[in-house]
Symmetry: C2
Subunit: 337 residues, 2 copies
DNA sequence: AAAAAAATTGAAAACGTTTTAATTTATTCG
DNA sequence: CGAATAAATTAAAACGTTTTCAATTTTTTT
């Protein structure tokens, strides 16, 4: 049914009906009620494409899904959905191979030019991220999940990676550990850089040397955790503690320890960053895992909220959120042997 | 820039320009070339909302992301993107809590009624899935990834879960195993039912009894694999082989075996189903894992293709694909002790 | 009770395309 | 060469809303 028919049925003008449904103030309360009730009864819903054409708004937020971080991505998405449930705003996902940066930039350009989204969420930013200047130049509203060092002003939401890892490392130092290995995330992305810095600063603060042989970078997978942990543990003297970039990495570290008959929490200590996945619980691991914790899901929810603020006109420069990270101690950390 | 301006610039009518860009046959080749070149040069792109309004097509495929299977979901999505890259079709993701079936149905209804998608992909179907009859009733084109037992005709793409698990189980029987445990997926969904049947049939075929104490159901997580494997291994006589529903489950089984000082491939054998995640490789595991393999990503790509066929008018009843599953033997399977 | 003000409703013009039906231009053929 | 046919182009009518501006009705004020 079209607006015209529906309005005729109500003996009102399309104008009034449209206003009643959109909640404009200048329509009488009794009229609004009548329209709303009847719309529900007859199942009238405005044609979304007509609405979009005339308002110029698309009603969608775009987000690109790169490969290798699908797990985090899905959790973030899930959080976004929580905030966007009531709104008439969709999430548009564009999967992307992300092999080279050039192709990535092209995909962002095309997404903007195709005018299919009102705003974009940029994830996994790098310090010199081209995407940020691109979107700024093209005038597309966007929120960065993470941070960059680009000169242009931009809205962002990030967790305090540096502080979190610094605290974790300091705690291990307090426990007497002196050789602490770090299995960080992909090289080049800002959060890895921040975590490296947190790790380094903790060492420097105690006047301890930084040993590049104890730092590795890679995707957040069980496999990467296992391989690097094995190779670190084969050094001598071997590290007595690990800072792991993710829960998956920690699983790999646990596996490596077991494969060498080392007991986690005694022979080696492990602290990992936990993005809080519903299906991988630090408490349930054996031994339970000490973590720096910050919910990826919550970040998604909040990001959706911030994008809505952006869309309602709030200047990007005023949207900066740095979330603190909890340090939760469990059985995987103990005094240095 | 609007079509009208662009057409004026070319000294053509909007009609001709529109047709030239959409590849209609009745426009002269030289004209088409000129229009295409100039469009590229001036950066003209039709306003997508206007196109959608007039064609009645939205240019989007909807898919709901339930919780607990995010990993598989993301991989499937990634595959869809591969096929949809060139097309002007978006993927619309609606995250969903999926707590109760009633709410789930409502979300599907709303997605249909809001007319935001041209087709829907239904995932994780159950034998008596209400969503299928709903979408059929509402006249929304849809493809089911998996199968159901609903009476209405519907398009589907599924892998041969029953055959795969039957083969895996038979192989373990060939190796002399007699107590084979099965850690299957969530109860109630069709693929779990099919896998149960494959497992059962393999036993029956050899005249062996089916022991419900050796079968468990749960999400595809490391944790579930670990817990069930532990509890099975504490039975006596304990099982000598495991059929695991996923790679994550297998990780848990490996962990459980290690925690009891059992050697995988010798004391116990393990075969798992591998959906082929880029970050979790059966070959790299220690010991390497025997698997039944079928790419989730490929399923996504093919599903996108099938949806396109659906949209171009192919009857749903003609779209049925059952994919065979490979059985790949590696080190995790061996003769029964 | 009339005038003024406020509240409510409506007519008509966008929004930017695609597509139908009509028109013009080019080609073929007797 | 002219009629018939084919090919290429265009004018105008959708598509279904929102929104501006104007008109009407209702309420308040004097």
């Amino acid at each position: 049914m079209k607006l015209k028919d529906f309005a005729k049925h109500l003996d009102l003008s399309p104008t009034t009906v449209s206003r009643a449904l959109s909640g404009y103030p200048e329509v009488r309360e009794s009229t609004r009620k009548r329209v709303a009730d009847e719309a529900l009864r007859l199942g009238y819903r405005p044609n979304i494409n007509a609405v979009r054409l005339v308002t110029g708004r698309v009603g969608a937020i775009g987000i690109l899904m790169g490969r290798g971080r699908e797990v985090h991505f899905a959790e973030f998405l899930s959080g976004m959905g929580e905030r966007l449930g009531g709104e008439d705003i969709d999430i548009l996902v564009t999967p992307i191979a992300e092999h080279d940066a050039r192709e990535e930039i092209q995909l962002y350009s095309r997404l903007v030019e195709s005018r299919r989204v009102d705003a974009i969420i940029v994830n996994g930013p790098r310090p010199d991220d081209e995407r940020i200047s691109l979107l700024h130049r093209l005038g597309m509203p966007f929120l960065v999940h993470g941070r960059s060092e680009t000169a242009v002003p931009y809205a962002w939401l990030d967790i305090d990676n540096e502080g979190a890892i610094k605290r974790a490392t300091s705690h291990l130092l307090d426990l007497g550990h002196r050789r602490i290995a770090m299995i960080n995330g992909r090289p080049g992305v800002t959060f890895s850089v921040h975590r490296d810095k947190g790790y380094r600063d903790a060492l420097v603060e105690r006047g301890l040397p930084f040993d590049p042989k104890l730092v590795a970078h890679g995707n957040f997978t069980d496999e990467v955790g296992f391989r690097f942990a094995r190779s670190f543990l084969e050094q001598s003297p071997r590290p007595t503690a690990f800072v792991a970039g993710s829960m998956m990495t920690a699983l790999g570290v646990y596996r490596a320890a077991r494969s060498l008959d080392l007991i986690v929490g005694k022979d080696i200590s492990v602290i990992a960053h936990d993005d809080v996945f519903p299906y991988l619980n630090a408490d349930n691991m054996a031994p339970s895992l000490s973590t720096t914790r910050s919910s990826m899901r919550a970040a998604g929810t909040r990001s959706a909220e911030l994008v809505l603020q952006l869309l309602s006109g709030k200047p990007p420069a005023e949207i900066h959120e740095l979330w603190p990270v909890e340090l939760i101690l469990r059985e995987s950390t103990g005094l240095a042997p």
